[in-house]
Symmetry: C2
Subunit: 143 residues, 2 copies
Amino acid sequence: MGIAMSQYFDTPQDAEDAYYDALEDGDLEALLTVWDTTDDISCLLPMHPLAQGRSAVREVFTRLCARGQGIALSVKHLGWIDGGDVAIHHVEESPQGHAPDGQPPMAVYGVNIFRRGAEGWRLIVHQNAPTAPPAGRAPPMAR
Amino acid sequence: MGIAMSQYFDTPQDAEDAYYDALEDGDLEALLTVWDTTDDISCLLPMHPLAQGRSAVREVFTRLCARGQGIALSVKHLGWIDGGDVAIHHVEESPQGHAPDGQPPMAVYGVNIFRRGAEGWRLIVHQNAPTAPPAGRAPPMAR
């Protein structure tokens, strides 16, 4: 990973672009380069347990990339928060293509959190959540 | 809201405790006091659309509190990230009691993000996501 680790991201957006590019390419080393090298990182993909720490995050993306194909997502920015050395991006991720039943694939919310360190901006948290049910179906208020 | 707004939270944990206490009490003003007064806040409750901005967040909790009962959650801390003036907490929220079918209620992941400002620590992001399916049922790898 020596070469990949020399990557420097000047802005949170540079790191985020690199993340989705690497995901589309199914490129494990490029993906891991976007993540911070510290052990306080965490990743929550849909229907997965929360992966905490460098080793757990590596395992998640190792499994994902072992399928031998990337994941192409259309990413829509919903908003971002500038917190000094921490940047929080809200996105909506839509898988490209169609589901087997011909329906458009379900979009998910994502929050990407980046932190600025000696090696530039790195991803420290990625968390997905389902989008709301279609209009006309009232969301359950119980929680 | 004059009195409530004078609340000062010395630590992210103080703000988080106040959030879950206010949720349990169904106390709208106390809930809104925990949130930052800026317009870059956002809240994603399970099966809801993403609420962005002070007005949208107020609307979410106004509806929630209009039910006339609070929501008591057991909160387990999974980890936290210290980002200087930003603090990120990973929690697991479990509704207390039992669902109508007698099953233990489903826990959800939560990420709470706090920011330090002139008025102490305030909540700027709350985002929920489902926990993983029970062991034995493999999570879908497609995303």
